[in-house]
Symmetry: C2
Subunit: 372 residues, 2 copies
Amino acid sequence: MTKKNSVPTVREIASHCGVSNATVSRVLNGNYSNGFSVREEVRQLITQIADELGYRPNLAAKNLVQRKTKIIGILGYNMVFGWPSNIYQVTTEAAVRYLQDHEYDICSTAPNFLRDDTELPPWRVDGIIVLQECSSRTIEQMEKIRLPYVVINGLAGAMGSTVVLDDIEATGHAIEYLLNLGHRRIAYAGPTPEHRKHMSIRDRHDTYLSELKKHGLPRISGHDKIFLSTQDFLETAVLEEHATAILAYDHIIAMKILHDAPASNIQIPEQVSLMCFNDEYLCDIVKPGLTTIGAPSRDMGKLAAEILLTQIKLPAEERCRQQIELHQHLIIRSSTAKPFRTSGSSVPNDLNRRFSGYDEDVLLDTSKNIKS
Amino acid sequence: MTKKNSVPTVREIASHCGVSNATVSRVLNGNYSNGFSVREEVRQLITQIADELGYRPNLAAKNLVQRKTKIIGILGYNMVFGWPSNIYQVTTEAAVRYLQDHEYDICSTAPNFLRDDTELPPWRVDGIIVLQECSSRTIEQMEKIRLPYVVINGLAGAMGSTVVLDDIEATGHAIEYLLNLGHRRIAYAGPTPEHRKHMSIRDRHDTYLSELKKHGLPRISGHDKIFLSTQDFLETAVLEEHATAILAYDHIIAMKILHDAPASNIQIPEQVSLMCFNDEYLCDIVKPGLTTIGAPSRDMGKLAAEILLTQIKLPAEERCRQQIELHQHLIIRSSTAKPFRTSGSSVPNDLNRRFSGYDEDVLLDTSKNIKS
DNA sequence: CAATATTAAGTAAACGTTTACTTTAATATA
DNA sequence: TATATTAAAGTAAACGTTTACTTAATATTG
């Protein structure tokens, strides 16, 4: 009603209603501890006036006295900045939903390299969720001020919890699946461990090699070079070395192969089967649908949020890091099939499943993704 | 050094250094007003101890006394939540860069419908940038507390500034370009004005109609239906009504057409030219490269940030909304060509430019995008 | 009706900074 | 030597909430 052009405060509401600011605060927060009570009419007046004035509590003041913010920061590989394709969208969504259900707000901010080389938000947060990675300086800072944090699919410092994917197991399953289909010449397309740091790069590549060794199968050239040109890769791996299946590090590489294979006169899956990690939304609408190894994205997000809130509730000295590893699962589509000597003969789609030795429903069951 | 497990405060640093908290505050902020000064050794000691303790000022306390946060909130069509393809990435980046250069931090948050139906962050911000749109409740709130805000490519309330694109002009240019190429049967593929609310939907569609009328050209069926199936659209617009050019509402629709045209045995641009709005990064790597109408994304972001900071600096009563409209520009690639009766004959790529009557360099000059 | 319990609040300190104002000691000036 | 100036700080209030503690009025009980 009144035309004050400043933001309304608790004290203003109080004077409007002829009560003290303490009363307003308690009413608005529903805090009836310490034997507090109000008459119903006063309670209604306060909420009404607060609404009329458009009152929003000054979180700064609130934080100051309560020494917590009810805000969780989200860092790393999220969407605020420059990541072209975000594989953590579903994960983030699940985490945020869980946090909001538990009365936490979330925030993310662009790293400000002019202010400081941290990625931490300038205001206090009660905890942090890191998507894949953040700078080591940021890790140091969180450790120093004992800020609870959980890293999703990445590495943490001494007191940080993690929720990671078991890529070694998943690669094993992928190879096993291809073996069961009858493949004996399996190629790998992806970055080599030297070239970037995320652990999935090493895990997937090295497990590819060790699985081949275990089964006495030959390595196919191309796994030892970074994947740059589809044509080069197909030339050596498929045309020269006669690979019958390709395991790709991620969906981006698989998409490239899928898109460029026709230009080299290579049919997928008739001539060569193709499968990859990261079950992103494109994988199922593309033709042929890509067989993938999918991560339990939603579980990752929810678990990370759960762990974080548990840590926050604990007194600082009782906190101890949690490290959870999650299973991934095969999603069988039509880009993989039994190998055929007679190239060009097309395979009925459902042959895949009939002979694969896998029951898709079992593999898609994510009800128990957490490793014991 | 000391093993306190709480976050360090100004007062702690002060007692470590044997000085008062005021001295610490002034040194750390470089605030030498009111004739303040320190001995060099004390100054160094303070900064050193602050660094050792990992001191970060409590922004809540700071905000409280300074009554500003130096934080700008980013709302709307950004990347924190569920938008599959974000056309404002470059815009956001430009805005953030400008804001950071001027000592502002930025933040974005997921709308929390459990707390309140605002999209405003829970903590105070000094200003808001809205990407395309936010809820009307949010607009109301910003107006009520007189929070400065700028809407990019969307509508604002009574005191909100806007930076928008002139879609009417741009559509006119697009049609003119196609006319100059020799096209007389031009189709339009996109949503119809009834179906969603963003002004570009109406502006592009209605200008398409009025331009056709102005030049006495026939409408092609399809403009009056929401674009759903590429096959249906091509069937009527191209095969039945012999359109020689298609103007698509956005790059998503254009991509679909480009991708599905071969299945209907339609060649682009030999049989039909294709162009669209939104010059997203896919448009230039696809084959044939898409002729587009591009927005000055970077300018939009920077301008919005500039306007916002200007408003913030002004005392509340002197603020007055700014409304800026920006030109868009043609980016000519190879999906458009002169119409050919003899379908199937391929067109040398550079013919486009030679006969288009447009000088690409001039059209790409964004140095003066602001309409006078 | 007095003592006690309950209802309905009010009071004031605290959170961590910033900053206008004040103080002290040393040095410069008259 | 007395006074003025300056360097180098210190003091305390204020920002808007929350909350432990207190108080006054009313209701209940014996």
